[in-house]
Symmetry: C2
Subunit: 262 residues, 2 copies
Amino acid sequence: MTSAGTPSAARRPGAAWNMREKSAGIVIIGNEILSGKVVDTNSAFLARELRQIGVALKRVAVIPDELGVIADVVRDFHARFDVVFTSGGVGPTHDDVTIEGVAMALGRPVVRHPVLEDKLREHLKDRLNEAHLKMTEVPQGAELIDSDRTTFPTVRVEDIYILPGIPEILEQKFLSFKDRLAVDPYYLKTVYARQFESNLAPRLNEVLKRFPELLLGSYPKMGDPEYKVKVTLESKDRAYVEQAFACLLELLPSQWVVKTEG
Amino acid sequence: MTSAGTPSAARRPGAAWNMREKSAGIVIIGNEILSGKVVDTNSAFLARELRQIGVALKRVAVIPDELGVIADVVRDFHARFDVVFTSGGVGPTHDDVTIEGVAMALGRPVVRHPVLEDKLREHLKDRLNEAHLKMTEVPQGAELIDSDRTTFPTVRVEDIYILPGIPEILEQKFLSFKDRLAVDPYYLKTVYARQFESNLAPRLNEVLKRFPELLLGSYPKMGDPEYKVKVTLESKDRAYVEQAFACLLELLPSQWVVKTEG
């Protein structure tokens, strides 16, 4: 390959050095998902949204409504990633132990938040019961993120955002504060190929040798009349991904390429 | 509550003592899922299927195509659960490192399986390349599970089943060997209630006090004209779940109950 720009790009030790990076982990809490009663859509929603604002989702865990497991996994994710989202386990019933689990992970006590208590008392008056009061509990030191789109604020403590499991509410809440999490975006180029992955593989490996920082994906599609494999090239450095894209197109016989995007 | 049977049931220290139990973990491997390009359907499929054959899914992890992470998570799940399924990362390209990750988790070398190599040589003849040969690699000591429904066998090593990421193939493969994993089934009763979860909570807690081994779930549904909360009661002990179900129906005002199932 002798494409202009490729050799110099290849010599750069880390293409995204000056880019703002942020990593994330998602903890989906719910026996109903593990037992196959409910299909989790929250992690897919958050994955798409986080990618759009340049945040690198590194791991998702789906775990049961068990205090010890929640505390362990949240502690682990909190140590590994810049920001953590939990989903589920924040209702008024016996199995809603997420708040307690997050508090345990951080070594903080659980306290009733006076603002939440006021909100509920105002709304429910003398119908307020113990189950309602459970909904006012937060890990000590938590911030409430208010939004006019939702009635109940989001609870954030350190970089952990505690979200409800009900998709409509989780989505509303996330959209209300996503802007505060945004970093530099990813640039994506896509090549659709009408050739088997095993034949593309040597060319893809060659591109990676020249562009070691490239995020390169190769996704076979079964039974599609148009293409066999979708190849994605990504970086936070727009010039870098464009050079890698040009390099790949030079390496691929033109009759293998169905179309490109991005 | 004075329902016949409840007090004796409540005195039983562990309702499912004599039942055959099996726990499972699922490791979904794929940058495409974490970056929001592809929605994982494999974990939901496996969750439903495992429940049907009485296997208790305890955890799902979605992780990137990174050797060290795969090895760590597979090693952890292998130690915790009776059976582990991996999905994805078994193709011929640079980012397909699941086989190596599982081998590393178990401290086994990666070897080419002669049966897989023969199959490919027969099929591809002189078109066989290095990328194809990568597909014949397995952790040393792996068993091949053949099935007439799929062209390529499933690789199993110890209690780890290594499945492909493509849903159609994963599903075919799982269905071909699921019978060998079956243990005692769960019995499920469902109550649909037209009452807020916070008002149900004290009654649910009372049921749990009397039936501490019950798997009790409570799932609010937004915007459904028919019901507000779906309550599920489960156990591997059919008599136990029936007694708990009767107890709950006695505790709930009859006008709160929309319908029951199971």
